[in-house]
């Protein structure tokens, strides 16, 4: 019995070469050297910033080929973070701040061009009010350019002031209005000074500022003009202005606003109200009381605002464009075609985020938008909302499975989901009765059937939370997070692959990430080409390693039948040691570095090729068994070929054995 045991151990010593220990070394080398290909890629080099991609982790190359979820930040990643005033619509007429005279564009012209014909009398007054409203209703501060000579001649030439505000939208609006002829100068001694189109100075006394808050989504100022009229100018989201408007060309403006929103522009509506002196004093008193309240100040202020801001006269709407990054729409489209689900996580509000999503083609025209927002949850309970949504997506899915055999793709309904931070926290909150699991499951179920998800009003930690939720879901998909600012760092660290954009908001994201790229558009090449290549290379390398070891050891195993099971080695010990090191490591290493099974251009052109390697397709059991079978077959051919060749025959020419 002891003999059997010692024999077994001896056989283990003989056959332990089948375990490819050197595979780990080769894999590490291949990954490390392969990551250089990413940094050397010239297409990913950005001339503006002079930066190329950076690789901080060499371990994750093949994960790039396996991505199923991409979480992106909006501002700075999808958009350039550079607001630009596009157009304004006053009383149904659209104004665009460029002059096109005889087909030529004059850049520094201060005039405006009207798409529709010039309005008549009362319209002109409204027009003037609109411009003044935009010039006054904001919280922009002016930083004077000290390099300009501070003389009175400034009134004639156009001053270049630098506007600072917490919201870049406001800066864009003020600058846009400046281009239309109305310049906001400064706030001095409670007087706002503006230059109107004829370069005359107008002074308005600033009486009250009803500042912006995210709940009512508007802001107002109460000003007194030099003629003594008290105006209340209000500027805000269309959803909060339209219900309070009682006069004005509502329908035209509304249609224009909707059209802009679908195009992806950020829209704001402007309205005004003329206040009499007593109305104003009443309002002032209310405001004073609310401001000095010791308890529930927020609530009291909100109530007062509500009372004051009503019965407006609609002036018009503005559209500001946050230009998308170069080729962002193209990238997102390619990613979706490749079967990757794209989620946009942002801290912005829903309307602006939705606008951007439409612009970058995350939501297409026929995408049915499902909403899981706080507003909806207030109407129904969270439970009901979730059930409704899941029924919607699943019902369509169920009917689709019967049709999949016909292969029609035109009927497939795209679902897009919008969820905001508050709703998410409600879903994630653990409930005492233990049914919280259901909510998450339901939520994940809904998400799985949506091709695009937009999460707005997300705090940085919530971004990481949702990444984690997806990471730990049933199929454990590989997640990728991309962002550019410090608020994205938690998301980047949480995801499997974190990518930082070397951008305007500093290097925080780039330093904490696994890969850093200069622009969002480079993500396309990185995933579709590099990721795909890396995955194919590494899976081939791994399979090959097992194959060659099987080829090597199996003849040894077969030989035991012919040598009396005495553990006699077929090969010299030198060969046994050097086989893995010098004989077979170099070819596969070079293969793993250079292999391009499909050309890079084809991969870029056909993003759907990415699906071929999704879900670890090349390293599944089936592929592994195929390679092992191949190895066994080859080994049998090697061994028995040699056996029959040398059996009973002489191969040398001098007869010696």
């Amino acid at each position: 019995f002891l003999r059997a045991f010692t024999d077994f151990l001896a056989f283990m010593v003989l056959f332990n070469y089948i375990i490819p220990v050197s595979m780990y070394v080769t894999v590490e080398m291949q990954k490390f050297l392969g990551s250089y290909f990413l940094t050397w890629d010239e297409e990913m080099f950005d001339e503006d910033t002079g930066e190329g991609p950076l690789v901080n982790t060499s371990d994750l190359n093949e994960e790039l080929g396996q991505i199923e979820y991409v979480f992106t930040d909006k501002t700075g990643t999808l958009t350039e973070n550079n607001m630009e005033f596009v157009e304004c619509c006053i009383e149904g007429h659209v104004y665009v701040p460029h002059v096109i005279c005889n087909g030529q564009i004059l850049h520094d012209c201060t005039g405006i061009d009207m798409i529709d014909s010039s309005p008549g009398g009362s319209g002109k007054e409204r027009e003037e009010l609109f411009f003044r409203a935009l010039c006054l209703c904001h919280t922009v501060q002016v930083k004077d350019d000290d390099s300009v000579d501070g003389l009175k001649k400034n009134q004639l030439s156009r001053r270049s002031c630098i506007y600072i505000s917490s919201s870049p939208d406001e800066v864009a609006l003020v600058e846009g209005i400046q281009r239309l002829g109305y310049t906001y100068l400064r706030l001095k001694d409670n007087f706002m000074e503006i230059l109107n189109r004829e370069n005359n100075l107008e002074k308005f006394e600033l009486l009250e500022v009803l500042s912006f808050d995210s709940v009512r989504r508007r802001m107002s100022v109460i000003v007194k003009s030099s003629t003594g009229d008290i105006f209340l100018f209000c500027k805000g989201a269309d959803s909060s202005i339209f219900p309070r408007v009682k006069e004005g060309k509502i329908d035209q403006v509304r249609s224009r606003v909707e059209r802009n929103a679908v195009e992806g522009l950020r829209t704001l509506c402007v309205a005004y109200k003329k206040l009499t002196a007593e109305e104003y004093s009443k309002a002032q008193k209310l405001l004073q009381n609310a401001k000095l309240a010791l308890q529930d100040r927020e609530k009291k202020l909100a109530e007062v605002y509500e009372k004051i801001e009503r019965d407006f006269i609609l002036l018009g709407a503005t559209a500001v464009e946050d230009r998308l990054q170069e080729k962002a729409a193209d990238t997102i489209e390619a990613l979706q075609k490749a079967g990757i689900k794209v989620w946009v996580l942002t801290g912005d509000k829903m309307e602006t985020a939705a606008a951007t999503c439409y612009a970058c083609k995350l939501f297409r025209r026929n995408t049915q938008i499902l909403e899981l927002t706080t507003k909806k949850i207030e109407e129904q309970s969270l439970h009901d909302v979730l059930f409704d949504l899941s029924k919607t997506v699943l019902r369509h899915n169920g009917s689709l499975t019967r049709d999949t055999f016909s292969g029609l793709s035109t009927d497939m309904q795209d679902y897009g989901l919008i969820i905001d931070g508050a709703a998410l926290s409600l879903i994630m909150k653990p409930r005492q009765d233990g049914s919280s699991g259901n909510y998450r499951e339901l939520f994940l179920e809904i998400c799985r059937n949506c091709s695009a998800v937009l999460c707005c009003r997300m705090a940085p930690l919530q971004k990481a939370q949702i990444v984690k939720l997806i990471k730990l879901s049933k199929e454990h998909p590989i997640t990728l997070a991309i962002g550019d600012g410090a608020n994205d760092v938690s998301m980047i660290l949480e995801a499997h692959v974190g990518i930082g954009i070397i951008g305007k908001e500093g290097r925080q994201a780039a330093r904490n990430s696994d890969y850093a790229i200069p622009k969002f558009k480079h993500l396309k090449k990185m995933l579709l080409v590099h990721g795909h290549f890396y995955y194919v290379r590494i899976s081939e390398l791994v399979q090959y390693f097992f194959y060659k070891n099987v080829c090597f050891i199996f003849p040894q195993f077969l030989y035991q039948f012919f040598c009396g099971f005495s553990q006699q080695t077929l090969y010299d010990t030198a060969y046994l040691t050097l086989y893995n090191i010098s004989f077979t490591s170099l070819p596969i290493l070079l293969f793993g570095l250079m292999e391009q099974h499909v050309s890079a251009d084809t991969l870029k052109r056909e993003p759907s090729l990415y699906r071929d390697v999704a879900k670890n397709a090349l390293l599944r059991w089936r592929a592994f068994i195929y390679w092992t079978f191949l190895g066994v077959f080859d080994a049998v051919v090697f061994f028995f070929g040699a056996y029959f060749l040398f059996d009973n025959t002489i191969v040398t020419s001098n007869g010696q054995v």
Partner: protein, 285 residues
């Protein structure tokens, strides 16, 4: 020609159970007929079956430095040779199981020509590898050519009839560099193997080396194989420019080639029939 002698009708049956050290050695003769004449060089092999010269313990049981003529190893063989290392406190030269089991049958070939037996000259040089004979195996150095003196202090392997320095009378085929010994020491890979025994050189180009006809093989049957069901054979073989007679490679090539050709034809038909369909990439989004 199998001459083990298991069959009672075989002339070597009487030698079947003889022990290895019986004197005088048992002899037997087997007559056979050559159908065709053998041209060119003819090689005479002895073959053994069911003899596991590739067993691991057997293969490692040798001392190469001793065989290389190292004087210190001569008197102190390595431990690998156990249990054939020393005999009665004297070191064995050559040590080890491989040397101990050396094949010691003697075969002689006669041609029968009208009742006269003409002996055929068998050449015993040139059967071992050149590197083996001149590099790997060296006799121990010392002054004088007297091998007996050089091997002083050692004893012969247990199952050998004669000590190593009496293997042959010629001095360059004696001792460790005896070619039969060298051929035996090169262990075979498979349990059924053959080893080169003698060469029959061709005569002038006119006559065939071995003419067709009757021959007889005289055997001095020393090597007992019956105890482990082994078999012994004598093989005569010539070689062509491609090596010995081995149909395997030819059959293999022809088989694989015809399969490939057949598959090629089949795939050509399939390609022609179906390959011209215009399949664009129908990928559902």
């Amino acid at each position: 020609i199998d001459y083990t002698g298991t069959d009672p009708s075989s002339p070597c049956f009487k030698c079947l159970n003889v022990s290895w050290d019986s004197t005088p050695p048992c002899t037997c003769t087997i007559n056979f007929t050559l159908e065709h004449s053998f041209e060119s060089n003819v090689f005479m092999y002895y073959g053994l079956s069911n003899f596991y010269q590739n067993h691991r313990r057997y293969v490692k049981s040798r001392d190469d430095s001793q065989l290389n003529g190292d004087n210190s190893s001569l008197l102190n063989p390595s431990k690998e040779c156990e249990p054939y290392r020393t005999n009665e406190d004297k070191p064995i030269a050559p040590c080890g199981a491989i040397a101990n089991s050396m094949f010691n049958d003697t075969l002689e070939l006669y041609r029968i020509d009208n009742d006269t037996r003409i002996p055929i000259t068998l050449i015993k040089k040139g059967i071992a590898w050149w590197t083996d004979k001149n590099v790997k195996f060296r006799n121990p150095t010392g002054d004088g050519n007297n091998l007996t003196a050089l091997f002083q202090g050692t004893t012969k392997p247990v199952n050998w009839p004669k000590p190593v320095y009496m293997l042959d009378s010629e001095p360059d085929n004696n001792g460790f560099i005896n070619e039969d010994f060298i051929v035996w020491m090169r262990t075979a890979a498979l349990p059924t193997f053959r080893k080169l025994y003698r060469l029959i050189e061709r005569k002038d180009n006119m006559q065939p080396t071995l003419q067709a006809g009757k021959y007889s093989l005289d055997i001095a049957y020393n090597y007992p194989v019956h105890s482990f069901d082994g078999r012994k054979r004598m093989i005569l073989s010539t070689i062509s420019w491609m090596g010995g007679k081995n149909p395997f490679l030819g059959i293999a090539y022809i088989t694989v080639g015809s399969i490939c050709f057949f598959l090629g034809v089949v795939l050509l038909i399939i390609h022609h029939k179906y390959g011209n369909r215009n399949t664009s990439a129908d990928i559902p989004n």
